[in-house]
């Protein structure tokens, strides 16, 4: 009994610790300038929407949101487009040095971004990708591919190969097998990979700051960071913008959660 109480308390403490800063930001975003500067600060806001108005209209938050949607969306689609066939091949085909390929992929994803910043900048400069939204999409795709391939490959490996044999005997060519049998069954894996890529691309700051120097192309993390003026720190606007930036991600994750149902392949084979 005491163990269960202790467990419950530690869970509460952990959850509280992670959510408290976020809660504070949400509360701050609904305060007025006076409430923010009050000492000691109060918990409950008056419900002012002034900071939201300022963030959306004075700081052009909508443009940043749009840029982030484009960048994160195309990163996710492109990364999946490459990761799905790669993962499928690594999971199913006999490829010499398969384990080494997977190991190298893992190494790539561990590379510190700082170490490749210079080369990436030079590369994009010569490609004309600086200050272009596709200029950040490219490195994002490269950096998220290893993780996506790992997740998807492990999902494909878990699908019973007999299902694909059955599809082939039933008359499917390789593409029909992939689209009618393998992909529908790998849906949970695809959504898991998609969400992780999306979160990465949505939150990424370093490359976005490096490559996107014009406000017209900047994504949310960079845009919000640059709210800060030389002598001012607009806490209220920052809080409101952060809430706006986080909401779409939460909505997407919650919507996708119902697709991430493991055990979808139950009933295919014995047991």
């Amino acid at each position: 009994m005491t163990r269960r109480v202790l467990l419950a308390l530690s869970i509460l403490a952990t959850v509280g610790l992670s959510l408290l800063p976020f809660l504070w930001f949400v509360l701050t975003s609904f305060k007025s300038q006076g409430e923010i500067e009050a000492a000691p600060p109060g918990w409950w806001p008056s419900g002012s929407l002034e900071f939201y108005r300022a963030a959306l209209f004075d700081h052009h938050l909508f443009d940043y949101v749009l840029n982030s949607v484009v960048v994160a969306g195309s990163t996710t689609l492109l990364a999946l487009l490459f990761a799905i066939p790669a993962a499928y091949a690594l999971a199913r085909l006999t490829i010499p040095g398969k384990q080494s390929i997977l190991a190298v992929l893992l190494c790539v994803s561990m590379f510190p971004q700082m170490a490749i910043a210079g080369p990436v900048w030079r590369l994009l400069d010569s490609l004309g990708g600086l200050n272009q939204r596709w200029g950040v999409v490219l490195p994002y795709v490269a950096l998220t591919l290893p993780l996506a391939i790992w997740i998807l490959a492990s999902f494909f490996k878990e699908l019973p190969p007999e299902l694909e044999d059955a599809a082939r005997v039933d008359g499917c060519g390789p593409w029909a097998t992939l689209f009618r049998i393998t992909l529908p069954l790998a849906t949970p894996g695809i959504f898991t990979a998609a969400i992780l890529i999306l979160i990465y691309a949505w939150n990424e700051f370093f490359f976005a700051l490096l490559i996107l120097t014009q406000p017209e192309q900047q994504t949310l993390p960079v845009g919000i960071a640059l709210f800060q003026g030389e002598f001012t720190m607009p806490w209220g606007e920052l809080a409101a913008a952060s809430v706006v930036a986080t909401l779409p991600l939460i909505v997407v994750v919650l919507l996708c959660q119902r697709w991430i149902v493991s055990g979808l392949s139950a009933g295919a084979v014995k047991g």
Binding site: R168, V269, K270
Partner: protein, 366 residues
């Protein structure tokens, strides 16, 4: 419906030979069993017929045409897998319709075929369920239905009953036999279960070590096994087999092994008999008599253990250093460590020289 011919099929994985020179004809409408222990290559052979694996050499012909270059989709073969392999994201109805939809069969025909197969297999109430909501036996029926709706040239079964419990397996076995008789279809069935093989097949192909050991009517594989392997593999409990030496002197042939001497009738004497040759002799547990029998070799054994199977008894005996099993009527008295007198009727003895069966010559008088 079609006939299948395999010409010299061999298959190696790296340097490991899995199948060696398999040649075999499956006539139209026959039920052929590929029987063998696990790892003998029987499933690989089935996959080669289906086109899921490629042979290293040899030819697969359906209706006289080589199909080696054709992918599985174009061979017009249906396969029932050991693990059922139902598509979990599709309902039973969609599972049944899948292959026909891929082939762009008109909707009306698909519906007709599904109704027909569902009635045949008694799965009408399950059509709108998902595979995960079915029991093992029901999944097995759906898997068969998926093959039936296609009306393929050839049905392939890869140990389809091995995941069912014993009772269900027996009833499905009977249904499968009825189904084959009704459809008059050519079926090839892989199993390691000799009971399934004996009851289902018109013909059994015994495979071991990647080679065909015997290809015969089921009863023949039991009554006249081609080699010691087949003799020990078919029949429960297996045939008693002893290795020993065959000595021929003055037209009399005697088999000797540790503590066992069996004079053989002249008609079992191999025509090319040498003075002495290594041989294996065998007799089925059910052929050993416990009462005086005419033309029988008499042997005294020590009863070590009696197993009561209900219908009859299995007596585990020792003769010299050799062990043997006798199937006896239940009324027989059994006291362990007692000496039992055993009679081997000579016409029930099986003789193998160089791992080949020596058939008794009917012309020579006994």
């Amino acid at each position: 419906m079609a006939e299948l011919e395999l010409r010299g099929i061999s298959k190696s994985f790296r340097d490991q030979a899995v199948l060696r020179d398999i040649s075999l004809q499956v006539p139209d409408g026959s039920f052929t069993i590929l029987l063998g222990p696990s790892g003998c290559g029987k499933s690989t052979l089935l996959r080669i017929i289906a086109g899921l694996d490629n042979q290293t050499s040899g030819q697969v012909c359906i209706d006289g045409t080589a199909v080696d270059h054709l992918p599985p989709a174009e061979r017009d073969i249906a396969m029932v897998f050991q693990q059922y392999a139902l598509y979990p994201h599709l309902s039973v109805r969609e599972n049944l319709a899948f292959a026909l939809t891929i082939r762009r069969t008109p909707r009306r025909v698909i519906d007709e075929r599904i109704a027909e197969a569902a009635q045949l297999l008694d799965i009408q109430p399950l059509l709108d369920r998902k595979p995960k909501d079915l029991s093992g036996g029901q999944r097995q029926r759906v898997a068969m239905g998926r093959a039936i709706v296609r009306k393929p040239k050839l049905f392939l079964f890869d140990e389809p009953l091995s995941n069912l419990d014993a009772q269900l397996r027996t009833s499905m076995r009977i249904e499968l036999k009825k189904l084959q008789q009704r459809l008059q279809a050519t079926m090839i069935y892989v199993t390691h279960d000799q009971v399934e093989a004996m009851t289902l097949g018109d013909r059994i192909v015994v495979i071991e070590g990647g080679r065909i050991r015997q290809m015969d009517a089921p009863h023949r594989t039991y009554a006249a096994p081609a080699d010691p392997f087949v003799a020990s593999f078919i029949g429960t409990p297996p045939m008693n087999l002893w290795e020993g030496v065959l000595t021929t002197r003055d037209d009399k042939t005697v088999f000797r092994s540790n503590g066992l001497t069996v004079p053989l009738p002249a008609r079992l004497t191999p025509p090319q008999a040498r003075q002495e040759s290594a041989a294996t002799i065998g007799i089925r547990p059910e052929d050993i008599a416990l009462r005086e029998t005419p033309a029988a070799v008499q042997v005294d054994g020590l009863l070590e253990l009696a197993e009561d199977l209900g219908a009859d008894l299995l007596l585990h005996c020792r003769v010299g250093d050799l062990r043997l099993v006798v199937r006896a009527a239940r009324r027989h008295d059994t006291v362990p460590d007692q000496t039992v007198r055993l009679f081997f009727p000579v016409d029930k003895l099986h003789l193998f020289i160089d791992n080949r069966r020596v058939d008794p010559s009917p012309t020579t008088p006994t």
